[in-house]
Structures are given as structure tokens and as C-alpha cells.
């Protein structure tokens, strides 16, 4: 009977695209898990294929497509974490938009967040004050304010660093050197925290910047890479947790960190074309 009611090209294209996206997700899951979880996945797929003529997303009422939410659930349950608000909103429609919103970890510090922290210096934790230290060292605060903030934090959060160091202009951090120097004191996890603030851990879930990065589009290659990153995420998370613990508990951590940081600064070389 369905053949007597052929859909429009636009509808068929969107519905078939959704099926294609589902097949991509299944094939990646199959590649990773083999026969494991096959039963569980089959239940979701049966639901998906029960009616692939589900009404498409309507722009006006922001209604999502039910079948697309099932695909998103498969990704979230078996491949990697997706943004929970996006999952709850259920407004995705992979028939027309194959973008997914990663469940990024949020360690990366945005300008707004930093400004907000600067506005409530007295309400921070000792670990939180480390963010202020980094912001000042990176030159994100005008000199007059920076000196006052440094002094305040050093006294309040016991940095034991009354004087703000002078940072030479146009230099960068040699991360491997910093890690090496921090490792001597058993605090190399601070280097990972630094990378997480900067968004340069090499792991998409820590480095992803929703303000400037394009969202990830579903493809087998990207799903696989994101899954591999997701598997590595707990190891980074463990280091970050350890870093926060050390910042809260170890009295000399700020002095040791700053010493290593200053020694790891490298002047940027400028090649002048003749």
C-alpha cells in the first residue's frame, strides 16, 4: 500500500539521509564492539525502522525528529558523550542536518568566564585562583588591574608570591620543558591543566570551543576519531582532578609552578625576509 503513496523527493531524500546516517553509526558501533551489545542495539534499531516515514522536523515549532533522537542516543550510549542539553531538547534532524553537539568538558576558559572570575576574586577557591594566575601570566588583564589582582590573590589564597613577575613580550611556553620541570616536584598534572585551559590537550572533548569551532558532522571517520578521543578522556580527567587537589592542598604549589613556568618561557624567533 505504501508504494501507492510515493513520498516527495524532498521527503524521501531527508528520510533516506537519516537512514544513511543510522547505518554509518551502526557500522562504526559494529566495528568497535563486534557482536557485543548487538541485542541492545537491535532493539533501538527496530524502533528506528518501525516507521521511517516519521514526520520531519518543523522549523516553526522546533520539533525534532524522533528517529534522529534514537540515532543520537546510540552515539551517546556506545560511541561518545553528546551535549546533554542538546540530547534533551530533541530538536535534531539528521535528515537535513548531520551536525552533532559534543559533550565537551568545559575546562577551556573563555573571555567571558575569565572576566566573571575577575569580578569576584574573593569568592574563588584556591584552585580557582590558579585560573587568575594563568590569565595574568598570559597578559589577559591590563597591568594596573593585574598587579592588584595578583597581590589580592597571593594574600587571600596563599600563593606566597607577593610580587608579580615580569613576563617578556612575544614568547611561548615550551610544554615539554614545563612538564619535565614540574615532574621533579610531582606536579606535572598542572601542565595538563594549563593545556586544558588553553584548549591544546590534543583531545577534542577538552579542546572543543563551541564559540569558534564548527560542529562535528557525522561521518564514519569522525565518529571513530571522536570515540578514540572519548576513550582517552578519563585519563586526562584524572590528571585534571589531581591538579585541582594539589592546588587546594599543597602549600608550595604556586611557587613551584611559577618557577617552572618562567624557566619554560621561550622567546619567539622572528625570521626577517631580506
Amino acid at each position: 500500500m505504501l508504494r501507492l503513496n510515493p513520498p516527495s523527493y524532498g521527503f524521501a531524500y531527508a528520510a533516506l539521509t537519516e537512514v544513511y546516517v543510522a547505518l554509518q553509526v551502526i557500522s562504526v558501533i559494529a566495528k568497535i564492539y563486534g557482536k557485543k551489545h548487538k541485542k541492545k542495539i537491535a532493539i533501538i534499531l527496530q524502533e528506528f525502522f518501525k516507521d521511517i516515514r516519521m514526520p520531519r522536523m518543523r522549523q516553526t515549532d522546533n520539533q525534532g525528529n524522533y528517529n534522529s533522537t534514537l540515532i543520537a542516543k546510540l552515539i551517546n550510549d556506545y560511541l561518545f558523550g553528546l551535549d546533554e542539553f542538546w540530547l534533551d531538547e530533541e530538536c535534531m534532524d539528521f535528515g537535513t542536518d548531520q551536525n552533532i553537539q559534543l559533550g565537551w568538558m568545559g575546562y577551556r576558559i573563555s573571555w567571558d568566564e575569565f572576566d566573571e572570575m575577575m569580578g569576584r576574586l574573593d569568592e574563588l577557591t584556591r584552585a580557582g585562583s590558579f585560573t587568575i594566575m594563568m590569565g595574568i601570566l598570559w597578559g589577559n588583564v591590563i597591568l594596573q588591574d593585574a598587579k592588584a589582582a595578583w597581590k589580592f590573590c597571593s594574600e587571600t589564597y596563599k600563593w606566597k608570591l607577593p610580587n608579580m613577575p615580569e613576563i617578556p613580550e612575544d614568547c611561548y611556553i615550551d610544554c615539554s620543558q614545563l612538564k619535565k620541570l614540574l615532574k621533579k616536584h610531582g606536579i606535572e598534572c598542572l601542565a595538563t591543566l594549563l593545556e586544558a585551559f588553553d584548549g591544546s590537550t590534543g583531545n577534542v572533548f577538552y579542546d572543543y570551543d563551541p564559540e569558534t569551532w564548527m560542529p562535528i558532522t557525522i561521518s564514519e571517520k569522525d565518529l571513530m576519531v571522536a570515540h578514540e578521543n572519548w576513550l582517552k578522556a578519563p585519563k586526562i580527567r584524572k590528571q585534571l582532578d589531581e591538579a585541582y587537589d594539589i592546588l587546594e592542598t599543597r602549600s608550595d604549589v604556586f611557587t613551584l609552578f611559577l618557577e617552572a613556568y618562567m624557566k619554560s618561557l621561550r622567546l619567539r624567533e622572528r625570521k626577517v625576509k631580506e
Partner: protein
């Protein structure tokens, strides 16, 4: 001998009066003998007055008091296909001979997937790969077909109307 027959015929025609009766409207009017003797001439000369005359039935009565009445009866014409050899025939023949049923490849594949949707949930990896490839091929073919179709529609919409050189049969 031939010349004599023509002369006799001309004389005979000259003595007859021809009346055209349009059955649908009940109108009757005289026709010159030079036109009335030939059905094709009648159709050509009256095409603008009686639009359906091309497919109408022309019936001649027996001469009565020197008057022959030609009755025009409207008939239903065949639609579309036209007569064999008309300008439309090759188009119709090509459409009949075409292999596809005209359904876009994307719609066709969607309908196929819909038919086997219950089985897909239990597909093995190799079957999934096969289906994925099939859908990819359908996307390529369907998009091409859709673009062509849109291009034809646009061309038709943008083209200016042209008067036909012939009146298509049935229209």
C-alpha cells in the same frame, strides 16, 4: 476523355448549391462550390470559425432540389498520442520504450528500504555496507535526476510561448 469528365463535373457542380449545417449550434449557411466539394478544404477554411472542425464528422446529403447539405457533427478526438507519423508520435514512442518508470532513484530506494526496514535492524556488517553503498549510488543518481528535472522545469518556465505550426490532435 479525361478532359471531358472534368468539364462535365464542373458543370454538374455549378448547378448545385451547398449548405453547411453545424449540428451543435443549429446554424446553416451556404458554402461556395469551390470549397464545398472537398472535406479538407472545408476544414481548413472553417478552422477559425468552428474550432473542433478538424476532428468533426462531415456528412453530405443526397442532392435535393439542387441543394446538398453538409452536416458538421462534433466528435470526441483521441487525446495526446495523435496519429501515427504525427510530430508527437516519436515522443510518445520514446516514453513507452523508456526503461525507467520515471521515479527518482532516491524515492525508489527509499521505498525499497521502507519495504525491508524490519530486516535491516538485524543486518550483519556486510549487509549494512552493501545497503550504504546502494544509498550512496541512489543519492548520486537522484540528485543528478533532480537537477535535470529542475533545469527542464526552469527552462520551460523561462521560455516564451510559441504558436504551434499544427493543431495537435485531440486538443
Amino acid at each position: 476523355m479525361e478532359e471531358q469528365t472534368t468539364t462535365l463535373s464542373t458543370i454538374s457542380n455549378a448547378t448545385l448549391t451547398y449548405m453547411l449545417n453545424v449540428q451543435e449550434t443549429g446554424q446553416t449557411f451556404p458554402l461556395p462550390a469551390s470549397i464545398a466539394t472537398d472535406d479538407n478544404l472545408i476544414k481548413r477554411s472553417l478552422a477559425s470559425v468552428i474550432p473542433y472542425i478538424d476532428t468533426a464528422k462531415l456528412e453530405r446529403s443526397e442532392p435535393k432540389d439542387g441543394v446538398i447539405t453538409i452536416t458538421v457533427t462534433k466528435t470526441h478526438a483521441p487525446k495526446g498520442a495523435g496519429t501515427p507519423g504525427s510530430t508527437f508520435s516519436p515522443v510518445i514512442a520514446s516514453l513507452i520504450a523508456s526503461e525507467g518508470d520515471g521515479t527518482n532513484a532516491v524515492i525508489k530506494t527509499f521505498l525499497d528500504v521502507e519495504q525491508m526496514s524490519k530486516q535491516i535492524a538485524g543486518y550483519g556488517p556486510h549487509q549494512i555496507l552493501e545497503l550504504k553503498k546502494r544509498i550512496e549510488v541512489a543519492f548520486k543518481a537522484g540528485e543528478k535526476q533532480d537537477e535535470t528535472f529542475k533545469a527542464v522545469v526552469n527552462a520551460l518556465m523561462e521560455s516564451s510561448p510559441q504558436a504551434a505550426s499544427v493543431v495537435p490532435v485531440g486538443f
